[in-house]
Amino acid sequence: MASFKILNTGKDRQNSKTLRLNPNMARRSFLKLAAVATAVAGTGLGVTMVKKSSAETKKTPYPSSKLVKTVCTHCAVGCGVVAEVQNGVWVRQEIAQDHPISRGAHCCKGASAREMVTSEKRLKYPMKKSGGKWQKLSWKQALDEVAGKLMEIREKYGPDAVMWIGSAKVSNEMAYLQRKLAAFWGTNNIDHQARICHSTTVAGVANTWGYGAMTNSINDIRHSKCIFMIGSNAAEAHPIAMQHILHAKEKNDARVIVVDPRFTRTAAKATDYVRIRSGTDVAFIMGLIHVILKNGWEDKEFIQARVAGFPELKREVEHYTPEVVSDITGVPADEIVRIAKLMATHRPGTVIWCMGGTQHSTGSSNTRAYCILQLVLGNMGVSGGGCNIFRGHDNVQGATDMCVLSHSLPGYYGLSDGAWKHWCRVWDVDYNWMVKRFQSKKMMNTKGFTLSRWYEGVIQEDKIHQQPLRAVVFWGAASNSQSQYHKLKKALDKIDLVVVIDPFPTMTAVASDKDNVYLLPSSSQYETSGSITASNRSIQWRYKVVDPVWDSRDDYTIMRELVKRFGFEKEFYKNIKEIPEDITREINKGTLTIGYNGQTPERIKKHTDYWHTFDVDTLQARGGPCDGEYYGLPWPCWTTEHPGTPILYDISKPVAKGGLPFRARFGTEYTYPSGRKENLLAAEGSAPPGSEVKGGYPEFKDVVPGTNWKTDLSQKTIKEALRRGMAPFGNARARCYVWNFPDPIPIHREPLHSPRPDLIKKYPTWEDKPNHYRVDTRYRSEQKPDWVKEFPLILTTGRLVEYMGGGAETRSNKYLAELQPEMFAEINPVTANNYGIRNGDMIWVESPNGGRVKVKAKFSERVDEKTIFLPFHFGGHFMGDVWAGRYPEGTVPYALGEPANIVTNYGYDIVTQMQETKTGLCRIKKA
């Protein structure tokens, strides 16, 4: 009876009403989808940015709507978003099926991009806290008061009394303005999320071979035979990258080796998983190199031609036998040999790392160790190889390139007199005028406070080297992503003025007990436009989808209004009329070091408009108006005819076609402490095809007298180099031995809070470092062997796929909050049972530095018996207190919880002040 009914029901229905489905149409569309799954996406959503929905309108759900191409605002993969807009309303998301990187794919964050605009939790108008209550302000009053107070502080205490915190979530143009603003304000106290994201990568990688960026691309992983992921949980942090990683795994039979203290969702997709003790990366990598060298598996030809400091490396790795490494890392000795052999027999291989590698007091050693491994294997400058460093925020690569950083001007020029003079020329302002903006010329050349340590500028528990900070401006950054959060809260309580410029009220807005907070609602990035740089250095144009919602203003407008009130509008906007395009042009003019000069706004837009013409395997356009160019003109893009550089240091292509040698950045010769002298330039015969000089050569200078390739604004030097088939920055060897670092060859040093007192003795940290970015920083005095007695468990933190950063945006997204409503601590069931903790119990997690959080225990075998894992996106609770009542009415995020960074331990990288959040100690007890 039942089956009879089933068989007939469909037919009856079909007869009783008109047939809605055109079978041919449906079949065609599904074939399109099929195409996506297999190889090349061939459908066109229209060649122009904006296109009316199909003209021969039979009937469409949204008549006369427009499709706008834009880019997701979460991670740095750079997924395409196609927004359908009807009458100024973003009605739905279409499929960006022909986007060369994402091919229509989204994780849950990208799939709910619309919520960024439509969330009811947005900040709706400017506000200030007065008498403990939130008071609505007009824009005029808010800007007048904020600017007035800042100017008052500047006059009274000097320009260095203000800490500017910029953003990796804004466009390149806006990030550039943020850095420029700090310069014009007269301080180097400017920083942003890159400090706590990949600062150790940039330092370590740039010091190895020239540039501190991802060398290949996410698409290029498709050609890998071995994908070695250390401290990267791409399945949660960069989900769309997994599309290409799994492609290589299936198509090339590539090994996917995941090295992580935690059995992550990425590990679940690996062919080999290695559980390593958190904070022992250098030992593990040196162990692999030891095995590789011992067996003669290194790429001898590559090392002979393109690597410096190899004998010094060889001497250092002798110590790291599989047995020694096994004791340090917890990885069985034979497993170390097996992994080394896998990497040696599967070439080309790529190394991927993220925050698991960078956020350590030894972060800048970790990142160099990874680079050296790739040099030894000869995996650099080849397709399928490289260091594919996945960056976090959607534009953190761009914001880093714009140097919203306390140690450099845009384009990594640094803070030297030469750098300032260069940028003054670009800005068309008098250098002496600029000097007068600063408290003294000395402060102009001195690195400022960092995002990770600015709070010491207020509370001064560690000695600081300037007058105390009086104001902090958070412009598109969360505060709860910084470690020692309970100390940071103290700073917010003590400081005179806190300005939060953000689409959502971040935890910063509610952290202060005082009436010192102003909230300025900026619009989301879908309500403005500009260029953004994806992890692989590709630049895309993020077109504006809708006008700013509520009474929010886009960042450019807020910047202009502030600058106007600061009194340097004329100088600041001298070359800038059309916003944002003229800002892009100013970036093009000045940022020569990294070849940001060929990416004019017109070219970037053209690439985004024609993204369907780029090949998924090579990212190169096949035909069409961008024929032969690489998607997004990955920097360096030396001229307006240059196709961009898809793979850094690839000497198989001519420089004019995207090839490059290693950069000659560190002189031409070096004498090692042993007395050995080495020529740092590449060996004879090692140069891109068509090069006039067949071997190494130093950087180009004096083509225009008195300038070099970085400072010649006429760009004649760069063009001359390209004409001769040569790289403007020279052709040198990559360095294994970085003499300007505290450890020239990376060596293992125990984390500041280590569970192994015996190893602290053998591998101690550095001596305390005075005046490290204006603050004394503890190393040896913090590394106490006794910590482990009271705090026996290892604490590590990480990402959830649903959330991003401090979570203000994503926890205010109802769909994402529904999936991940509560803060938790992952705890191994064995550990939990030993502590008498049941699954779902509330527990206290306490740190050696006085922080504690009350969180729900979640049983999980992702962590081993010695480790507790906390996700770091939550906010709105504080050491047991619930702060829901502190938010402005109607803006409380859907999901609240304790910030993990209250308990992440003290500890900062020796070179960059990166916070050590991936390894520390803690204790737990039932709440």
């Binding site: 809605r20 079978p23 709910s112 299936e250």
Partner: protein, 197 residues
């Protein structure tokens, strides 16, 4: 006539919930109703596998068989749809469905279920195509537009496939064939399989 199918490739699914949210955002589904969700087995252990599940649009759909008011029906292309105006919210379909696809609004007094909601394969409902009413009750009707369902189209790793069963099957076969050469992954030790075939 094409026969519509979903297939989730567990070797590819990374539990990113892109499908879940693509469905919710695209069809304006309220919090608490999940037309699609991802389940994971062996979480945190070797052998961890995730699978995206929604209505499977069964050939012999038990929900249709048990519905006392004939609110459920199957189109010629295999898509199982619901007439919300007929549904009485009894929940029989929920008992009958092996996949937990039928969803009911939560929080009503006396535990009343309210009208059922489920995956439409992005094909709307019996109301007029693209009408305000159809959109309100069922969400988008992408099939009538000649477009694929949102969940599969937005899948991060192309794990979730949707479309003509023959085409889906062909894609999946090619993948299995490609993987067959390796035998190096955990996945292949656990035998490669996909749900929904």
């Amino acid at each position: 006539m094409a026969r519509m199918r979903f297939l989730c490739d567990t070797e590819r699914c990374i539990n990113c919930n892109g499908c879940t949210v693509a469905c919710k955002d695209g069809n304006n589904i309220p919090v608490g109703i999940n037309r699609r969700r991802v389940v994971t087995i062996n979480e945190g252990r070797p052998g961890e596998q995730s699978l995206s599940i929604a209505c499977m649009h069964c050939s012999k759909a038990p929900c249709i068989a048990v519905c006392p008011v004939d609110a459920l029906f199957q189109r010629e292309d295999g898509i199982v749809l619901l007439d919300k105006k007929k549904c009485i919210g009894c929940g029989y379909c929920f008992f009958a469905c092996p996949f937990g696809a039928p969803q009911f609004p939560k929080g009503n007094v006396f535990g009343a279920r309210g009208v059922m909601d489920k995956c439409t394969f992005c094909a709307g409902g019996p109301e007029e195509d693209f009408s305000e009413e159809e959109r309100k009750l069922y969400g988008q009707n992408r099939i009538a537009e000649g477009k694929p369902p949102l969940c599969a189209a937005m899948c991060a790793t192309k794990a979730l496939l949707a479309g003509d069963a023959d085409v889906v099957s062909k894609i999946y076969q090619e993948r299995v064939f490609q993987r067959g050469s390796g035998g190096s992954s955990w996945g292949s030790k656990v035998s490669t399989r996909a749900y929904g075939r």
